[in-house]
Amino acid sequence: MTRPDAYSGPAIELIEVAKHYGKTTVLDGVNLTVAPGEFIALLGPSGCGKSTLLKLIAGLDELTSGEIHIAGRLANYLKPAQRDVAMVFQNYALYPHMTVAENLGFPLKMSGIDRDIVRGKVETAANLLQLGAQLDRFPDELSGGQRQRVALGRAIVREPYVFLMDEPLSNLDALLRVEMRAELVRLHKRVGRTTIYVTHDQVEAMTMANRIVLMKSGVIQQVGTPAELYATPANVFVATFVGSPPMNLFTGRIENGVFRGPIEAAVPSGLKPGLVTLGIRPEHVEIRNGGLPAVIDVVERVGPDSFLRARTAEGAALTVRVDGATRAKEGDRIDVRFPLEHLRLFDDAGNRIATVEES
């Protein structure tokens, strides 16, 4: 696919993309615009359709309806190789009967590029990923981390317009995962190509992405920067999915300008009476005398922070973040307060109600 050089529009556009398998709906009217050079994370629980969406963009599966545009051209009916995308698979999908060098050079060889040029590009990629010593080995002789880098290298040598990554780090152990995460971010800064990265791990998404697309059951819940998703979640699902430990949530009613439910709290003015869900993140809950009384059930010490799991007199559970060196212990009594500016309110359908007081 020849890349139109003068093209300056969105790198990828998804318009009403839908995918049904018989009666099951996997994707339901997905719309998205990705700018060139962006690192987009497709985040969501398993079954939300993120991998399917990636496969549709790659051309490995057929849409039921909608359009996908890559570099301004309709890609629906283009073969995968014609879309100028490269993909890193969760299970690496390395060719077992070829050496690392052959694996890396294979896509270039298929494009008919001259052998010397191929060798040059393979060496560059290998050096970039520290695979120089493995070039003559076979995939089954490599460690998981090395295989993953070969998979990455195979995508890099093609110098594609878009990188697609399907949970590439999920098969690595925790330490390696953190290391590779930083590596990928570094690579993205260096190579600068549009990347779409599928993951179910919100920490990965939050640390790596320019923007996150959070999905559930085939529908996009929210698109935004990690900060946006964290600070202004569009609905209850987003509020609980992003951030760990999750946001405290209480369902109740607004009556006479006050929230009544498992807890009682003051709320911003101008809210209509009715069913709402009130949310506040553990780090925003203030411990101050004169607030709502609660008793500590558990103190979770996780190093720099500690999380107090407490319970109000009415039995409402809430989590409060405090300093790691806290001397609090089970059974202590605390008073909590919920500052207005950190309250997040959601209507009965779970969607966020915008309030004036937000910063």
Binding site: G59, P80, A81, A86, N91, Y95, P96, M110, S111
Partner: protein, 290 residues
Amino acid sequence: MAEAIGLNAEQHARLRLRRRRWKEFGRHVVLGLVAFILVAPFYYVLLASLKDSTEIFSYPPKLLPIPPYFGNYRDLLWDTGFLRWMFNTLFVATSVTVLKVFLDSMAGYALAKIDFTGKRIVFLLMLILLMVPIGALIVPLWSLVSSFGLINTYLALILPPLANPLGAILMRQFILGLPRDLENAARLDGLSEFAIYWRIVLPLIKPGLVVLAVIIFTDQFMSFTWPLIATTSDELQVLTVGIAALRAHGGANYGLWSASAVMSLVPIGIFFFVLQRQFLARSLAGALKQ
């Protein structure tokens, strides 16, 4: 419990060991007997092939072929079309094997990895007709082949066996075992479907191909019914039919018959001795690791 019988632990262990040894001995006896029964006739025939006609009829029979008489083999190789038959059989068996390995692996690839209408019906049809042998179809097959004017040609021997769906079904099974992402990666790398089949799938199912080749080759080597009616001239006779003809014509030349029996076992014996490790051993894993 050992204590209950009045034995201590060591005596009990020794008893167990002895019992085990006896059982093992018993197994060897029975299996040895069975193996003897199954293999002795071959030695008997080997002997007969090395005896002249007077010795064959003698009683008690000589158990060792000294001195060996090679006249039977000379008669076999010189006076009958044995060598020609052997060539025909090997030629046909090899042709069918080579052709079928490719045809069946391609069909297996389509059935396993490509989505097209009618795939399920085709597969079902193959499963249902899998066990219908050529022998049950000789009437219409003969008519069909003769109407093409192909009776008594090599094609008549090579084409009908290609219809057996076992190969396609087997290949489909092997190819299904290959991870889906592997071909997806190949597609993204720009390979055509055929290139994926040729460069990625075939190398990775090599053990399966070997299994298939062995099955097809042995089957063709031993096939009788169809070659019997598909070929009429002596030049095209295959081994099995030729040997049967020996029986029909030459009145009771046991020496010759024995020699033909022994000679016919040579290729298969070699084939299997060579493949014995891959064939009788288990590991067909290797490249099929996920």
